[in-house]
């Protein structure tokens, strides 16, 4: 599974990080700037929770 974070949409609500700190990290401004990355199988559930929590719909999940 992959996550794609749209930097233009992210506004720093930090909800992804609150739901799934093991998956999403914020930069020093509080934005998620992680771009596209692969999620390890044991963290897929968390990644989905974090993506769903984004008020700006800035995180897309691409299933394998």
């Amino acid at each position: 599974m992959k996550c794609v974070v749209d930097h233009d949409k992210c506004q720093g609500h930090a909800m992804c990080c609150s739901k799934a700190p093991e998956v999403f990290q914020l930069d020093e401004q509080g934005y998620n700037t992680m771009g596209e990355f692969t999620v390890s199988p044991e963290k897929e559930m968390l990644a989905r929770l974090g993506a769903d929590a984004c008020p700006e719909n800035a995180i897309r999940i691409i299933e394998d």
Partner: protein, 409 residues
Amino acid sequence: MTALQSVAPTALPDHVPVELVKSFSFVHSPGMDRCPHATVAKLATEEPRIFFDPNAYGGPSWVLTRADDLRTVLWDQRTFSSKGAAGFSALIGDTWDMIPLELDPPRHTSFRALLNPLFTPAKVNELAKGVRETATDLIDRIAGNKQCEFMEAFGRPFPITVFMRLLGLPLEQTPQFLKWEEDLLHSDPTDIQTKANAAREIRDYLRTLAASRRAEPREDLASFVVQASIDNKPLGDDEILGIYYLFFVGGLDTVAATLGFIFHWLATHPEEQALLRADPSKHTDAIEEFLRAFSVVVTRRRVTTDTEVAGVEMKAGDWITVPLMMAGLDATDYPNPLELKLDRSPNRHMAFAFGPHRCIGSNLARREFSVALVEWFARIPPFRLKAGTQPTVHGGGVFGVEKLELEWD
């Protein structure tokens, strides 16, 4: 009686169709003084979805009622400007902006880059100890009393003390700040004189604060701001004032109001209160649900260029009232929006707005709510509304709770 009342379309702008003209007062419409959220929730189910209120507080304005339209307007800051959205400086004949709230790009972007790092989750973790001490100090004062007026004992002093510690202000001035907050934001909406006097006194106090920190910098946020620069240029006096002013207005009333609604709900829902008492792991989702159902802010935007929202033609210069609570009360996203589901997930409410003007203090506010729940449950047994009392609530630009009498055994 419906919340919307038809009004005579006199002196309407030419582009406003008569069928879209309605009058709804966020202050005075029936129901706003009993249950403002239930009252405005009706707007989201009625047509038209966007209406024009010639009598809106602050001047004639479009009013949005649906989550989708809020997203459209809050996202596009070039078409929908934030300049003048709060209007405190205009109240006293000044021209400074509240920063970053009343700025548009590119200045908005620069100021967010400067200020965002102060309120990240990591930074808020560093402030947590002070927030917790503030809460426990206040709760310990009333814990033995078996009753309290929540807003006076905790709802208002808690966020104001957090703000004063953050900015580096002497805590013995708290009563003065509470008075200013009361006069500026809670006096009779028609009493412009009281509001203007408070706005002026706060401005003068904050200007003096800037001068004193410039002369003798300390380890506080007030000093950070006077020493900051953007593009290698130090901030101007009005910019410093604009930032201080937003810290004052932004973080006090909104947090106090939300606490009031949360604690009223807990006091009247004993089973859910017991559930949250027993299991702090449920607090995070519960706080999001409280924020959704009890969003308190009504903000504004101004149209910069002729445009259309959901088929409604708007002209440059038009004002748009953007009630953020409508997003959480929109039945398209939340069937039965007035019913709270404490484990709701996902929960994409707009209590902290949406888009580039997302509340800069949202992480701190969430921490304040979380600390308030934990420390109240730890120190006060199950509480309820004091017998024979009803809370005093109000609508307006920030919905809120004036008085909430609680008691416990």
